[in-house]
């Protein structure tokens, strides 16, 4: 379970560019939550993820993951328990290393003896099996350098790397937005499957409003560094995209402005 209490982050404090990106955000993510996050450009969605993952330290507030206060832990220590995927497929894998090397890197990261052989036979079978489920033919190309793969293949691999050792929290920041529609759909399908099977508490930023309501069990909307809507259960089932739009303008007195926001259902 993740508990966020009064999280605040202001960029460029004390300059003319001062910008409060997070204004006292509080949020609890239950173990079986798959939360989709909506919000206009600059609402602070990625900043929220950055604060949770430890890309930077929040100015104020606490982040408690499974009972442990991780607010002051450096990024690489948090990464042992938090899996993160970004929009850019190039970000999550090492292009000059093979598929099996990339996966080995992600596997047993905290438990492996430093001088143990990196790529171990007993892991390879597990890698093959997991890769085969993507139906991208990656399981037969384990010795291929990742730099030769397509964006979709790399993102699928990144997803597997982030989840092969079950994380306590999975953060997905528009991880299918840079892929072509067919591939995006495929990667999203795999995402849902993995999250469901492994029961990983997940937060996913998306700009697709239809998807935000159909994927997962809970949807929140952010604006100007605050959570302005948090729906689940019946309330969410009754929600439609037009209603969501109306609620947004009602709450903020302005139109939703996300140039990439999709209105598809």
């Amino acid at each position: 379970m993740l508990e966020i209490r009064n999280l605040c982050k202001t960029f460029a404090k004390g300059t003319v560019n001062e910008h409060a990106a997070l204004r006292s955000v509080s949020l609890t993510v239950a173990d079986d939550d798959f939360i989709t996050i909506l919000g206009s450009n600059g609402a602070g969605k990625s900043t929220l993820f950055g604060a949770i993952a430890g890309t930077f330290y929040a100015d104020e507030g606490e982040i408690i993951l499974d009972g442990r206060d991780i607010s002051n832990l450096p990024e690489h220590k948090r990464a042992r328990v938090i899996g993160t995927l970004f929009q850019d497929p190039m970000k999550g894998t090492a292009p000059g290393m093979t598929i099996e090397e990339n996966l080995s890197l992600a596997c047993n990261q905290s438990s492996r003896f430093p001088l143990a052989r990196a790529v171990q036979k007993r892991d390879l079978a597990k890698f093959r099996e997991n890769l085969a489920r993507f139906e991208m033919g990656l399981e037969d190309r384990m010795k291929m350098k990742v730099g030769l793969l397509s964006g979709g293949q790399r993102q699928a691999l990144t997803l597997l790397m982030a989840t092969i050792a079950k994380p306590h929290l999975l953060l997905l920041d528009e991880h299918t937005a840079a892929l072509d529609p067919a591939t995006a759909e495929k990667v999203m399908g795999i995402t849902v499957k993995i999250v469901k099977e492994q029961r990983i508490p997940t937060m996913m930023i998306t700009h697709n409003m239809g998807q935000a309501l159909s994927v997962g069990n809970r949807t929140i909307m952010m604006d100007a560094g605050q959570v302005i809507l948090d729906i689940s259960g019946q309330e969410r089932q009754m929600m439609t995209v037009p209603k969501l739009m109306t609620m947004y303008s009602g709450a903020r007195g302005k139109e939703l402005d996300n140039d990439r926001m999709l209105l598809s259902q």
Binding site: A53, T55, E75, H76, K77, A79, R80, T84, M90, K91, G92, T93, A94, P95, G96, M97, E101, N102, S104, L105, A106, Q109, S110, R112, F113, P114, L115, A116, R117, A118, V119
Partner: protein, 313 residues
């Protein structure tokens, strides 16, 4: 090319292969230009020379590696913990090392190694002595050369095996990933800064070892021994890549050794044929490295201008 010339090239190429493998680690695996090299090479020279004079040549080699590794860690710490630009960090360490190296050599600019180098010890062990010299001068010289060659080959081979093994371990893989995609490593559970420091330590350890064994082979140490070795290392790595190609880290280390031998042989050949006087060497090495590094960009430009439709009848 005469046999002795080839033997000399082979010996020195194998000694410098230690340097080339060190440069391969920083330049190709960590993907960072490391100017510590010239300082850590001389540090290896100084440490090895002083310990050899004191009667501990083998310990001298070991400490040359360790001292080089420490120099590399300093650069690594400057880069990662206090955020100094990689090139500047290397320059600072190299510059500071000048004082350290002189201090190690007791404040003197050079040290003559007495008859206690590992090579002298081996000559004794194999009875390559005055009696042998009087018996057959040519056989004596040959035996000496072969002994040096064997030492060089064993050392290069052993370091190669160790490095190949190391970069296949879990921590070795973490170092490679850091050089390959630092953004990814930063957002993973690997300590990117620590990996960089460790990588630079190993790279400069190899460089220090090269200096340490070179000085024992030459029997003389000076404070300026390291001048220009970075370019020698880079040229070796690049020549190796031209021959072998860039496919894997294991092949990369092997290609660095081949490149180093090739480079030393070529240089001997060129100077012996009076193609250029010896003092031209540094300029020519620099030009080789610059040309090889420019090649991909030049090739791309050529392709682009061809695609641009400027066709000639």
């Amino acid at each position: 090319m005469s046999l002795t010339m080839f033997l000399g090239g082979l010996q020195e190429g194998l000694f410098y292969a230690l340097l080339a493998m060190g440069v391969y680690i920083s330049f190709r695996i960590l993907n960072t230009p490391d100017l510590t090299t010239e300082g850590s090479y001389t540090l290896g020279v100084a440490v090895s020379a002083v310990l050899t004079v004191a009667g501990h040549p083998v310990l001298g080699l070991l400490c040359a590696f360790l001292a080089g590794a420490m120099a590399g860690s300093v650069t690594g710490i400057l880069q990662t913990k206090v955020g100094i630009h990689p090139i500047l960090a290397g320059i600072l360490t190299m510059s500071g090392l000048y004082t350290v190296n002189t201090a190690v050599m007791g404040g003197k600019p050079d040290v003559t190694l007495t008859k206690t180098t590992i090579f002298n010890r081996l000559y004794e062990a194999f009875d390559i002595n005055l009696a042998a010299f009087n018996r057959d001068r040519q056989a004596f010289t040959m035996a000496k050369e072969i002994t040096v060659l064997i030492v060089a080959a064993v050392l290069a081979g052993a370091v190669l095996l160790l490095l190949v093994w190391f970069f296949r371990t879990h921590i070795g893989l973490c170092i490679r990933a850091t050089g390959n995609n630092e953004a990814m490593v930063r957002s993973s559970s690997i300590n990117a800064g620590g990996m960089k420091i460790l990588g630079l330590a190993i790279a400069n350890g190899c460089t220090g070892l090269a200096g340490g064994v070179m000085t024992q082979s030459g029997g003389f140490a000076t404070i300026s021994n390291g001048a220009g070795v970075l370019v020698v290392g880079l040229a070796s790595v690049i020549i190796g890549e031209v021959i072998v190609g860039k496919r894997s880290v294991t092949l990369g280390f092997i290609s660095a050794i081949l490149g180093s031998v090739m480079y030393q042989c070529l240089i001997r050949l060129a100077t012996s044929m009076n193609v250029f006087p010896a003092y031209y060497l540094k300029l020519i090495s620099a030009v080789i490295v610059a040309a090889a590094l420019a090649l991909p960009a030049v090739r791309e430009n050529l392709q682009r201008s061809r695609k641009g439709g400027r066709r000639h009848a």
